[in-house]
């Protein structure tokens, strides 16, 4: 387990527990009551840390190397999954995955998400979760397939941004994202989008138009990453904490602004510490929400989607 700087008190306690257990085994002395006490302390410390996270700490959590990615959730939430590849045009983008999945062997779902790599080699293969136009076009192809057969769509969002590359521009990164926004808003099937890590800018929004846009508790969603914001507005990389604060990018802020439909609470300690539990929470959410959305007739659902996004913004109207 890796610990972030603000999780150090936790690390100290957990190391202590391990040491005591080791000693106990060697000396055959009963240490269970000491361990129990320390575990209580762990819980208390965890609660303290996690109920007082600042915005930058949330950003750090969203990027925790052990935080589950899309493929993890797919494997834990669904009973079956068949990955579908390619945009039928240029190639198969490895930074966005997707395919048919089954919820409890009862409900077929089209699941799509950004995928980051779990080790150095895979991170490169997945391009750090930064999709090229092909990724967005593959996503749209799968969404259209789902629409044709009346299957709901679930997207998992986790990207530091769409890839800013030469070929991405040649093949129309802007057009690909724009097309997805345009098409997703009128999809005839229920669409649920869940931010599971980083929700950076157009790269996130490109698979982020839904009837329900939810954020896992310890994630962020913004027009720009705190680092890039710092470099542009403060003209140095040093103000990322301040930028994170100013951007008001956490799930709490986003929910208060009405820019998302809700927060999915993570176990205290975060998804990286409790991945199985987090997957179960997501599963439960889908089991409840998919039927709710199907209960709304198609026209109303689309109308509500359009109205929701059309109402976003703040301005003054003078006389």
């Amino acid at each position: 387990m890796q610990y972030l700087d603000f999780e150090k008190p936790l690390e100290t306690l957990i190391l202590e527990i391990e040491k005591i257990k080791e000693v106990g085994e060697k000396t055959k002395v009963d240490v269970s009551s000491a361990v129990k006490e320390l575990n209580k302390k762990v819980d208390k410390t965890r609660k303290e840390i996690y109920s007082n996270l600042n915005d930058w700490q949330t950003v750090q959590l969203s990027r925790h190397p052990e935080r589950p990615y899309t493929n993890y959730y797919i494997s834990r939430v669904f009973s079956k999954y068949q990955e579908l590849h390619g945009d039928r045009n240029v190639k198969d983008d490895k930074a966005i995955v997707g395919g048919f999945a089954s919820l409890n062997d009862e409900q077929t779902v089209m699941v799509i998400g950004h995928q980051k790599g779990v080790n150095t080699k895979m991170r490169q293969l997945r391009n750090f979760g930064m999709a090229n136009p092909e990724g967005y076009r593959k996503a749209l192809r799968l969404m259209k397939l789902a629409e044709k057969f009346n299957k709901p769509i679930v997207t998992f969002i986790d990207t530091p941004g769409a890839f800013p590359g030469l070929e991405a521009e040649e093949r129309g990164q802007g057009e690909a994202i724009a097309r997805n926004l345009f098409e997703m808003i009128n999809l005839k099937v229920p669409v649920i989008c869940i931010i599971i890590g980083e929700g950076a800018s157009g790269g996130a929004l490109g698979i982020g138009i839904g009837d329900r846009v939810m954020m896992l508790e310890n994630t962020w969603y913004s027009v720009i990453s705190p680092e890039s914001c710092s470099s542009i507005l403060w003209r140095t990389w040093d103000f990322k904490e301040k930028a994170a604060e100013q951007l008001k990018l956490t799930s709490k802020h986003m929910n208060a602004f009405g820019l998302i439909d809700g927060i999915i609470a993570e176990p205290i300690g975060g998804a990286h510490a409790f991945p199985t539990e987090t997957a179960a929470i997501i599963k439960k959410y889908l089991e409840k929400t998919i039927p709710e959305l199907f209960a709304i007739d198609v026209e109303t659902r689309i109308e509500q989607r359009i109205e929701k996004f059309s109402a976003m913004g703040f301005y003054d109207e003078t006389k």
Binding site: A162, P164, E169, Q173, A178, L205, L233
Partner: protein, 294 residues
């Protein structure tokens, strides 16, 4: 923010133009020459100078090298709409600072300063008028106003422009010119991409044409939403058009970018534009295009 135009152009006093138009007084080219003699315009392309009158009469296109200089909404309206007559729409919508955003400067102060230095209310101006007798609603961006950045007002004005087009069954055009999203409005700015795209689907359902004219520069969230969603995507020559900015791409791939990368000509070659239009021919082309849809 750089605009490409020298400071002297401010003496044109766009507000005077507005007043005249509001009073229904037609303006002729002669009357517009309210710039004192001896003001010169230096072309950023070829560095040659011409008088302000000359450059204005050639639609702010350099007579020597065809460089299309950056101009804002009113300058477009002035030569696109017949006799320079048009009605401004939704001009009472202005930005506010809901987030209390502060970087090196308060967003609140930025807005005040931008209004003062640009003489504009925001980065988007919407108007309706006739182009060779054909009615058209145009939403045009102002680079002068915080780099033409897309905030809530930009999105709302597009949304209302679309509503107006639908209500009056009129074709719709957006002239894009933007450095991208307005960071000081954070996710609200991001959501303008979703909002404008959603509204464009309503225009599409009403079977009304949408022409997207991309001008220098069209980047970021604007490119990744309404700019690329035209029934027709057209652009001015030499305009920088892209999702990521050239500097960011260069830093990412750690290579020099090929010459002409992300220009209008590059996009045409890669299949993302219908055609490139010289500003001098823009009015005629537009009225022709509207004709094709009729």
């Amino acid at each position: 923010m750089p605009n490409g135009l020298p400071k002297t152009t401010k003496t044109m006093s766009s507000s005077t133009w507005f007043k005249r138009i509001k009073q229904g007084i037609l303006t002729s080219t002669k009357e517009k020459k309210d710039v004192p003699d001896g003001l010169w315009f230096r072309c950023p392309g070829c560095k040659k100078t011409s008088t302000i009158d000359e450059i204005r009469d050639s639609f702010w296109v350099c007579p020597s090298c065809n460089h299309h200089n950056r101009i804002d909404a009113e300058e477009y309206f002035e030569f696109l709409y017949d006799e320079g007559v048009y009605e401004l729409l939704f001009d009472n919508i202005v930005s506010k600072d809901k987030l209390g955003f502060v970087d090196l400067k308060k967003y609140k102060d930025r807005l005040v300063d931008a209004k003062k230095t640009s003489g504009l209310k925001d980065a988007m101006t919407v108007a309706v008028g006739e182009i060779n007798g054909k009615k058209l609603v145009t939403a045009a961006m102002n680079f002068k106003f915080i780099g033409g950045s897309m905030g809530s007002v930009v999105g709302e004005k597009i949304a209302r422009g679309i509503d107006y087009s639908i209500a009056h069954k009129l074709p719709f055009m957006i002239i894009s010119k933007s450095g991208g999203a307005r960071m000081m409005e954070s996710a609200f700015s991001l959501m303008q991409m979703a909002k404008t795209s959603a509204k464009l689907t309503q225009l599409a359902k009403a079977k009304l044409p949408y022409i997207s004219l991309m001008t220098d520069p069209t980047t970021g969230g604007v490119t990744a939403s309404y700019a690329m969603l035209g029934d027709l995507n057209i652009a001015e020559p030499g305009a920088l058009i892209g999702f990521a900015g050239p500097r960011v791409i260069k830093e990412t791939i750690k290579k020099d970018l090929p010459e002409g990368f992300q220009t209008a000509e590059f996009l045409l070659e890669h299949g993302f534009l219908d055609f490139i239009v010289n500003r001098k021919e823009l009015k005629q082309k537009l009225s022709d295009l509207i004709g094709y849809f009729e």
